[in-house]
Structure formats: C-alpha cells, structure tokens
C-alpha cells in the first residue's frame, strides 16, 4: 500500500501545495513590479529594493528585531532544554502537573492574552519597556516550543548510554555534555531556529511588551500594511522570506550531514 499514490492522493497534494505556495510566489513576483499599483504589472524593476535601503525606520526596526531574536533564541534554547530534561529524565517531582501545564499552555494561549498579561506585569513592577521586555516576553513563549522539540528527541533516545556513562563514573554534567548533548543536538538546533523565527515573526506580543525605541520589524510592517499594500512591503517581505528559507535549508543540510557522518563513523 505504502509508496503507491492514488490519483486522489496526487490531486490532494498538488492542490494543497499550490494553495500553500502560490500566494507567497505572487507576493515575491510583485516585489519586482515597476508600477506602484500592486495589482497592475508594469514591467520588471528592482527599485523597491533600493528604496528599502533608504528607509531608516525600517532598517532600525530590522536591526532591533534581529538582536531580540538572537538573545531570545539563546535563552529559550537553554531554558527549554532544561525543561525538556526535567520532563523526561526526572520522573515525578513536586509540582510536575503545574509545570507541564505551564509548558503547554503558552503554545496555544491567544497572543493577545500573553501580551496583555506580560505588559501588566512589567507595569506592576515598574519595568521600563523596551528591548529587554520584548526579549523577556519572547523567551517565555518560545521556550515552550523548544521544550516540545527537544522532549520528542529525548523520549526516543536510548537511556542505557547515559546509564553506562554514569556507571563508569562520569558526573551528570559530563554525561550530559559527552553523551546526551551530541545525540539531541539536531533537536536543540531545531529548537534554537524555531525560537529565532517565532521571535522574528511576532507582532502581537511585541506590540504589548515593547516601548519607545524598540519598534520591531513586524510592528513597522503592520503599521504600513494598515495604510495600504505597497511594493516596498513586498520587497521587504521577499528579503525576509529568502533569508529564512536559506537558513532553514542550510540548517537541514547541516543536521543531515552530521547525522550521516555519525552513521558512517
């Protein structure tokens, strides 16, 4: 049965992927439109990409976003991996039910609630809003995604290797670094990328948690989208899409290579 696609399966896949990709391709195509009218094709042009280079507010926002995403991804990866280890290796500890609840709830929690609640926390403790509050907010919701990704890998992992290392006298830290970490590394890297992208992408939570001087790229794009569709936004989007796509493909190749080398060696 497996390996044979019926005509119905082929049609489902074709329509499904056409639906997923055509809007993005149209968006990219129209970023090269010479006409300012987005729905009329006025010939090929790269003028909108040059216009971007002179758009200072947009460039500032992009720089803030990348810094937030980078710090977020590092913190979220560390905390998320710790949470994954707690959930898979430490059995039943006190407060475990609450802990699993706090790990799974932020993933589905409507963003407006997460954003509002964090903002009210920052106001209650009199924390000035800016770069660090956005980062704190992003770490909180992205670490849960890291946890789930790493947890899936830890669950599938043969524990006898860790036990053997411990029996041979390795400390838990040493065991983690030389046995566990190499095996879960692809998942940790995937978690890092996921946290980075989610942070890069977030509009709602950043809008609540941000303050003066820390406007992120999605916030900037959102305010110009509200004013109308322009080829300049298409150009900015295309750059973002290309960056993320290249990043994901490179990461996939790197992990595939390291897995293959491990299997070969």
């Amino acid at each position: 049965m497996r390996g044979r696609l019926s005509p119905f399966n082929v049609v489902s896949l074709t329509l499904g992927f056409a639906f997923l990709y055509i809007p993005i391709l149209i968006l990219i195509l129209y970023s090269f439109n010479a006409s300012r009218l987005v729905s009329v094709w006025g010939g090929f042009s790269t003028q909108w990409y040059f216009a971007l280079l002179e758009n200072e507010p947009l460039l500032d926002a992009a720089w803030v976003t990348v810094r937030v995403a980078f710090v977020t991804a590092i913190l979220a990866t560390v905390l998320g991996t710790m949470a994954a280890i707690s959930l898979t290796r430490y059995g039943r500890f006190r407060g475990r039910a609450l802990f699993t609840g706090m790990v799974y709830a932020p993933m589905v929690m409507p963003e407006v609630i997460t954003g509002l609640s964090l903002l009210l926390l920052f106001v209650s403790i009199d924390l000035d809003r800016g770069f660090w509050t956005v980062t704190l907010a992003h770490v909180t919701f992205t670490m849960c995604f890291v946890t789930v990704v790493v947890q899936a890998r830890l669950v599938a992992f043969d524990r006898s290797l860790e036990e053997a290392a411990m029996d041979l006298g390795a400390t838990p830290w040493r065991t983690f670094v030389s046995v566990t970490l190499p095996v879960i590394a692809p998942a940790v890297l995937a978690g890092f990328l996921l946290a980075f992208t989610l942070s890069l992408d977030d509009l709602v939570i950043a809008s609540f948690a941000s303050g003066p001087g820390a406007t992120t790229l999605p916030m900037r794009i959102y305010s110009s989208v509200r004013l109308g569709v322009t080829p300049e936004i298409n150009a900015a989007s295309t750059i973002l899409i290309l960056l993320v796509t290249t990043g994901v493909i490179v990461a996939a190749l790197v992990t595939k290579r390291s897995v293959m080398m491990r299997q070969a060696g």
Binding site: M1, R2, G3, L5, F8, N9, S12, L13, G16, F17, F19, Y21, P23, I24, I26, L27, S39, M82, A83, S86, F99, G101, M102, Y104, A105, V108, M109, P110, E111, V112, I113, L116, S117, L118, L120, L121, S124, L136, V139, T140, M143, C144, V148, V155, A156, T171, W173, L200, D201, L203, S207, I221, Y222, V225, R226, V229, S237, L240, V244, V248
Partner: protein, 311 residues
C-alpha cells in the same frame, strides 16, 4: 579510592544540578507566565483611573494586613457585569467561537487529504513533503496574511482571474468579509493541522486496512471504520492546536476582516490600545481564558499522551 569519594559525592551534586535544571525553567514560567495571568485577574477586578498606572485600587504593601483587606474591599466585578450586559462583547465572543469552529472544520477537511497522501507517499518523497509543509510556517505570519490582501481585493488577482475567464461579470467582495477571515485562518494554520494528522497516519499499520478489504469491506468503509478512529489522536491535537489560538486571533480579522468582523481578540486590542481601558481589556482576557480553559486542558492531556505513546 578516588572513585569511591566520587561516588559518595554524587547524590549531593546530582541533587543540586537537578534542582537547577528543574528550578530555572519552573521559576521563569512561574514569573512570566503564571504570575502575569494572576495580575490580569487582579486588574480585571479594578476600575480605570486617570493615573499611572491607569487603574485602581493599587495594592500598597506598606499598609500590611489591614491595607490588604481594604484593597480587597475595593475590588469589584463591575467589568464582568458590563461585559455580560453589553451586546458587543457577547456577540464578539460568540462570533469568535463560531469562526474558530468553522475554520477548524475547514482545516480538517483541507488538511486530512494532504496528510493522508503524505503518509502514503514513497519513503524518499515523504521527507521532502514534510519539509515543504513546514517551510511556509517559517515564513512570517504577518507576510502570509498580507499576501492575501493583494489577492482578495476587489481589483485584486483572484477577481481579475475570475472575470477574465468569465466565471463572474463583476468583482466579488471577498476582502473585509468573514470569508476572507476563514481563508486567512485556513491558510496560515494549515501546517498545524497537517503535521499532527500526518504523525498519526504515518505510524498506522496498513495491514489492518488490507485485512478489512480482504474481508469484503469497501475502501470508503475501511476508511471510516479503521483509518479515522486510529487517527483520532491526530485529529484532536490538530483541531485544538488550531481552534484555541483562532478564537483569540487578532491579525487575521484586523487585516482581512474589515470593520464588520467582530472577534474578541480585536476587541481586547482596541480596549487596550485605543480606549486605554486596561481593567476592561483584562476582564475580556479573563472571559476568553475561562472559555478556553477546557480546550487548553484537553490539549495538554492530548500532547502528554502523545509523548507517552512515542516512548
């Protein structure tokens, strides 16, 4: 000898590491997830004030126990009474639940055939298909919603296409309607539906279907009596993963739904940013949370069970 001392040290050292590994993420989530939700509850019970922060009463810890009691006395349920009595909020909550439910159903109808075909694909192709489903998810959510504005506008590409092939004479109004909101939700949430479905369908034992067909069952009957029940965990996980965030969705109704589409996430946003009524925005958040608590708990259980099963 060295080894002996090391062994004796181990439980203590292990205890410390363990405390740190559990403690750090636990405290983080407690401080930045659980505590903020409690603060929202507290502020939902306050009243708006022209002050900084723009609500009262404020809890003065210097007042001690008596101050705390006085603070409790000042809290009120006025915001909740207001929400319950005002048609706008009730209608917005109702239409959010309705739109989220119908979008989730559409996602299931669109996502199931895709996931099913992916699970049946040959080994080499399957990895590529999974990557191809995930890739759009890595592309900015905001950009993917924005892409649809250009397609759905009256002078947009879809209308231009339909008019040119003669299906319609005049452009249809799709943008700024609930139809556009449904399209936006189905489009952006599709990977969240397809991936859990694929995960359960991929693990399914094909011999069961073959056995049913050998015993004279039609393919359709075999699908309904075997495939669907066995993929139930994927259906539950995918549906909850889409339904819960869709109820509170802000960006999609705001950009595609126009001013007539009432959704609770948008109401919360405008109470907060436009009307600056923080207590009322908090009360809206609490109402949304109460409505979503059951699906959220179900989601947690479904995910925990999935983790146990893959062990």
């Amino acid at each position: 000898m060295a080894r002996h001392t090391l062994r004796r040290d181990e439980p203590r050292r292990r205890g410390l590491g363990r405390k740190l590994v559990i403690g750090a993420p636990y405290l983080w989530l407690g401080a930045f997830f659980a505590l903020p939700v409690l603060i929202v509850l507290k502020i939902a019970l306050s009243y708006p004030e022209l002050a900084q922060p723009p609500y009262g009463p404020t809890l003065d810890l210097a007042g001690g126990w008596a101050g705390f009691v006085a603070f409790l006395g000042e809290l009120s349920f006025d915001n909740f009474a207001f929400i319950a009595s005002d048609d706008l909020y009730v209608a917005a909550l109702g239409s959010s639940l309705r739109i989220a439910a119908s979008s989730t159903l559409m996602l299931l109808l669109v996502g199931y055939p895709i996931a099913y075909a992916m699970a049946k694909a040959p080994d080499g192709l399957r990895g590529i298909l999974v990557a191809a489903v995930i890739l759009p998810f890595w592309t900015s959510f905001l950009i993917r919603v924005y892409a649809w504005i250009g397609i759905l506008r009256p002078e947009g590409l879809l209308n231009g296409f339909l008019v040119s092939i003669g299906v319609i004479d005049a452009p249809l109004t799709i943008l700024n309607t609930e139809i556009a909101v449904h399209i936006g939700i189905v489009y952006t949430y599709l990977p969240f539906m397809v991936l859990p479905l694929y995960a359960t369908l991929e693990r399914m034992d094909d011999t069961l279907i073959e056995a049913a067909q050998d015993l004279g069952s039609t393919p359709l009957k075999a699908f309904w009596t075997i495939t669907v029940p066995l993929s139930w965990p994927g259906i539950v996980a995918g549906s909850l993963l889409c339904f819960i965030p869709a109820v509170g969705e802000f960006v999609i109704p705001d950009l595609l739904g126009g001013s007539d589409t009432l959704m609770i996430g948008r109401i919360l946003w405008s109470e907060f940013f436009s009307n600056r009524d923080w207590p009322l925005a908090s009360a809206v958040a609490i109402v949304m949370l109460v409505v979503l608590v059951v699906p959220i708990v179900l989601f947690r259980e479904a995910e925990a069970r999935r983790m146990e099963e893959s062990r």
